[in-house]
């Protein structure tokens, strides 16, 4: 693509046009790439959401499906300060969160009462 007859003869006007055109090409190129990546991201986000929904369905089937009254009726673990309600958080992660909080506060876990633990989704922030 030789735009100019010889590069040595380039005038200021031609240089200006080349500069503007070049900047536009970079912008347009990356803009189209952005659109492509947005579409790709949207597809993967939708797929991820579906998988999460399916997973939380399975989890809620095992955890939250237990009615509150039933949860309350489960006997407390020895030394425990009470029940904790979990929203979209697997048991293992909840245990980890409670351990981290207790460690950071330097208090024994059984002196802390966690009321609920909920995962905050990035789109909720």
């Amino acid at each position: 693509m030789n735009v100019f007859p010889t590069s040595d003869e380039m005038g200021i006007g031609e240089a200006g046009i080349t500069a503007i055109f070049g900047y536009a090409v970079v912008f347009v190129g990356l803009f189209i790439l952005m659109v492509v990546l947005h579409i790709m991201g949207a597809i993967f986000k939708a797929r991820e959401k579906k998988e999460t929904a399916a997973n939380s369905g399975v989890q809620s089937g095992s955890v939250s499906a237990i009615p509150d009254a039933q949860v309350e009726s489960v006997p407390l673990a020895p030394g425990s300060a009470g029940h904790v309600k979990l929203y979209d958080v697997p048991d293992k992660e909840a245990a980890m969160v409670m351990a981290v909080v207790a460690h950071k506060m330097q208090r024994p876990l059984n002196e802390l009462h966690f009321i609920s633990i909920k995962e905050v989704k990035s789109d909720e922030v």
């Binding site: 030789n2 080349t18 090409v25 990356l30």
Partner: protein, 408 residues
Amino acid sequence: MDIFETLKALLEDSGFMGFFLDGGWKNIVMIIVACVLLYLGIKKQFEPLLLVGIAFGCLLVNISNFYVDGVSSPDALYHPELWEQFLDESSEHYHSYGNIMANGGLLDILYIGVKTGLYPSLIFLGIGAMTDFGPLLSNPKSLLLGAAAQMGVFLAFFGAVCLGFTGPQAASIGIIGGADGPTAIFLTSRLAPELLGPIAIAAYSYMALIPLIQPPLMKLLTTEKERKVKMVQTRQVSKTEKILFPIIVSMFVILLLPSTAPLIGCLMLGNLWRECGVTARLSDTVQNALMNIVTVFLGISVGATTVASSFLSLQTLYIVGLGLLAFAFSTVGGLLVGKLMYKLSGGKINPLIGSAGVSAVPMAARVSQDVGKKYNPSNFLLMHAMGPNVAGVIGSAIAAGFLLAVFK
């Protein structure tokens, strides 16, 4: 054996006599320049991996070659006249690597890797393997900041034409604003090889000076309220997306601008090796061993082009000035679009990440992080700035591809 005659012959043969030849003082100046660059690379740690090699190449070429009337010294490591013949269509050695191999010195032979575009492409392979494009994938809008930050490339190009440089020379000077050393070397070696020394030195020096160049501009163009903006954590990117990314970018960008194929192709191949999960050995090799080997050759052979007779000219001063202008305006371009995104997003995007759109990975992103943290200690902009930062690498490769397509 006549001892005095032998001593006289040795003295006449020595490089010291070269200082008394016509223009020999220029070699002394270049030796001082090389020592200053060595000081900056070693003591001040300005891009030491490349600058030390470039500086030592500069030193070697100027103590081994006293280039007088177009003829190099007999034991020169680098022969500018051979490369002039290589580029001269009327010469019998036009495009003859055989002539270089047969008559060149060590640095001539190493320089073949620069001339063919081999070293910059291999460096890009390593950069690809070292780069996580996750932040860009989680926020594709970063690409616009990477595009905006190419403003300095085209403004410096325009300025260079106004100062009397030819189109290809102006394009090579402008690409300094892309803040991407391998891209600058790749484009310059193709379009204006006679300017390679000053352009490479300007590009790497300014890249090292980013923490000094960018913060005043960031402060000047943003308000305190904007600098304090805390950005929301971006989404996690799946492995499949990361694998698809280099394939999609290669196909799209190379189809759009085929001249970007060596740089974008290598960058994305390196990244694919990193992300695909089944080529860990290759990824490790290109980002460590190969990268180091190529850096050794690239530094020393670029330094070799700083021959006193061509380096010490008014052109070099213009290139240094225009390079600074290019860097500054690239930063300004990124910041202005960052401000626009701040407005359009209702204050959710911190415009400071715009300055990271100049490539210089990860230095420019670190500067965004440091400046942001200064105004809001709880702010963590690094990952947000990495998006525009890696977008800048793609942007500068596209800018170089465009200029190459226009002027080759």
